[in-house]
């Protein structure tokens, strides 16, 4: 894992003290809310429905046990005993007091964490593959490149006031587990025909009110030009992105309106100029960063055999455990989606338990996934049963990874001031209704957003749900056919919306259409793509 150097630590510590002074001046009445609001937002502090909300950055979703434990302690000390893991691989606290925020940030800084650039029109926390460094199918660990870009984008003076927020994902596998093409910039580390590692750039993707899949703008950027190319992409956006209309300000609109070819031409022109200016950090810096991401000391010859005699354990094994690159090891996903629970929420005790399990079983490492679960990336197969027993005993052993009750849901109108409808109760009802049929239904990614901003990734759900406000009443639109992986696609609205109970019935009907039309090993998405919308519409509205 990356460890702060003195410069990193000083930067974060200085920011805490700066914000402490700003809070003091606000509370003393020397700063108006108009002046203070951009300052608190730059430190991740929002004002939501019930209280201040703090969004803490988890760079590329990677945490140490010490950091995870600190997150649990903060949940107890400054919040109401829980935290919410988000679709940006971050954690949010919902009940923060302004006057306590500087102390909270100081506790974060003590474990090399912060909330900087988790809000505002800047480059946000960079996300990545939750299986990075462990996946059998990756060509390199993507995190050193994500870390390099994190350092480049932190307090980058040119990109702190972009036309709109900016999200970057970095992956290095054929399998896209990070919704890479639905980011402002998606980077896939690739190997060229000469065997060299470089980066493919996809630019102009995103969800929100105008969802778009990022087109490939460059197949291969050499490693010693990575930052320079990213800078060129941002510069063209910063120069020409629309600032007159918030709803047309994301880079996806610029790329769409210019056209991919013209946008790329301008980026290449800017790139050529920047190459003459020597802005790229020396490769030695990348090498320094890489030393923080070496493999843990795996046990050579760790046993492969796993005793599957406990049927509940076997279910979890088949659902939540993935292949690891190292023989004798596995990747284990801890579900934060208990049946009828709140997706992504974990109590302080659960957070601390996961920290302990990360230390005991996963070389002191944990990951937050964009699907709002937690991953232990390096677990000895021989330890899986003991791990599962502890998870099971603490409400963390639900065997539902990528199943219909592994639902992504934004906080919705229960917490969020932007939301139009509640997401969580819909997720809870669907979970309770359909979890008993989990095995029968198989892989089905269900995603719920409480407004058009799409924090719940509804466009990318095999089944997506969008909450809207219809004359003061919650109403839910149903989408089918979205996908966030290698074959990224955007969901299509089925037709008129539904009430809270109606949307639950509609989803159940959609699953029944799938089951009655399924051929062979088809997933829901495969069947939908083969048979099209018509039979689903007929069943849902007929």
């Amino acid at each position: 894992m990356y460890k702060y150097d003195n410069y990193d630590q000083a930067m974060v510590d200085t920011r805490v003290e700066e914000f402490r002074d700003q809070v003091k001046r606000r509370l003393e009445g020397h700063l108006s809310e108009d002046h203070f609001k951009p300052l608190r937002l730059q430190n991740g502090l929002y004002l939501q429905l019930h209280a201040y909300m703090l969004r803490v950055a988890v760079p590329y979703g990677t945490l140490s046990s010490v950091q995870m434990r600190a997150l649990g302690d903060i949940a107890d000390r400054y919040d109401r005993g829980y935290g919410h893991f988000t679709t940006r691989q971050n954690i949010q606290y919902n009940w923060i007091k302004l006057e306590e925020t500087p102390d909270l940030l100081a506790e974060l800084a003590a474990v090399e964490m912060h909330a900087i650039q988790t809000s505002g029109n800047c480059i946000r926390n960079i996300s990545s593959d939750q299986y990075a460094g462990a996946a059998a199918d990756e060509i390199v660990d993507p995190r050193p490149y994500a870390e390099l870009l994190r350092q480049w984008s932190s307090f980058h003076p040119e990109f702190l006031v972009l036309p709109r927020k900016f999200k970057i994902a970095v992956i290095a596998s054929e399998t896209d587990r990070a919704a890479m093409k639905l980011h402002d910039i998606g980077i896939r580390m690739v190997r060229n025909s000469a065997g060299e590692i470089g980066a493919a750039f996809y630019v102009g993707g995103g969800m929100g009110r105008t969802p778009m899949i990022a087109p490939l703008v460059r197949e291969f950027v050499p490693l010693d030009q990575l930052v320079t190319y990213a800078e060129a992409c941002l510069r063209v956006y910063n120069r020409y992105g629309r600032r007159d209309n918030k709803y047309k300000a994301r880079i996806k609109i610029l790329v769409h309106e210019l056209g991919k070819d013209e946008y790329t031409r301008q980026v290449e022109e800017e790139f050529a100029l920047l190459l003459t200016q020597g802005i790229e950090p020396p490769l030695a810096e990348l090498e320094r960063i890489k030393t923080h991401f070496t493999d843990p000391p795996f046990e050579v010859g760790a046993p492969e055999a796993v005793d599957r005699s406990d049927p509940d354990f076997a279910l979890w094994l088949d659902s939540n455990v993935e292949a690891h690159k190292q023989p004798g090891y596995a990747i284990a996903t801890i579900s934060l989606k208990p049946v009828g629970g709140i997706p992504g929420d974990a109590s302080a005790d659960q957070i601390r338990l996961m920290a302990d399990l990360g230390l005991q079983y996963s070389f002191d490492e944990l990951r937050v996934t964009h699907a709002q679960n937690i991953v232990l990336p390096h677990v000895r197969k021989a330890d899986l049963f003991a791990l599962w027993q502890q998870l099971e005993a603490n409400g963390l052993g639900t065997p539902n990874l990528d199943a219909i009750d592994d639902i992504i849901a934004c906080p919705g109108l229960d917490y969020c001031s932007l939301a139009n409808a509640r997401s969580i109760p819909v997720a809870q009802k669907l979970s309770e209704r359909l979890a008993p049929r989990r095995a029968e239904i198989g892989e089905l990614k269900l995603k719920i957003s409480g407004c058009i901003n799409a924090c719940g990734h509804h466009h990318a759900g095999h089944i997506g749900i969008l909450g809207v406000d219809r004359k003061g009443t919650e109403n839910y639109q149903l989408l089918l056919g979205g996908c966030e992986g290698d074959d990224t696609s955007l969901g299509t609205i089925t037709g008129p919306g539904f009430s809270e109970d109606g949307i639950v019935d509609a989803v159940e009907k959609a699953t029944e259409v799938y089951l009655s039309n399924k051929q062979g090993e088809e997933r829901f998405l495969d069947t939908y793509r083969r048979v099209g919308m018509a039979p689903f519409k007929e069943a849902i509205y007929g």
Partner: protein, 98 residues
Amino acid sequence: MKILTGNDLKSGAVTWWDGVQWSLHVNDAVDVGEHADAILAREQAAQRVNAAYMIEAEKDLEGVRPAHIKDRIRALGPTVRADLTLKPADPEARDWVI
């Protein structure tokens, strides 16, 4: 009726204008009639409330009920965590919101 709501500057807690000060309980809210703008300007200048605004509500024998669900959720707390609402022991509180 027209009532005023905002968030407490220090704690962020949802508050309601009761005619004298800001209360945590929506049932304390008073009809401000045509005086909303003046009260909001005075109170925000005094740093006692944050992001305050006026909403429509109804009052009956059971109390004050904001017209929009968003403000009813603000008044009670999250509908999915009864333990964190202002009425953790009231099983029907969620029904009041919806």
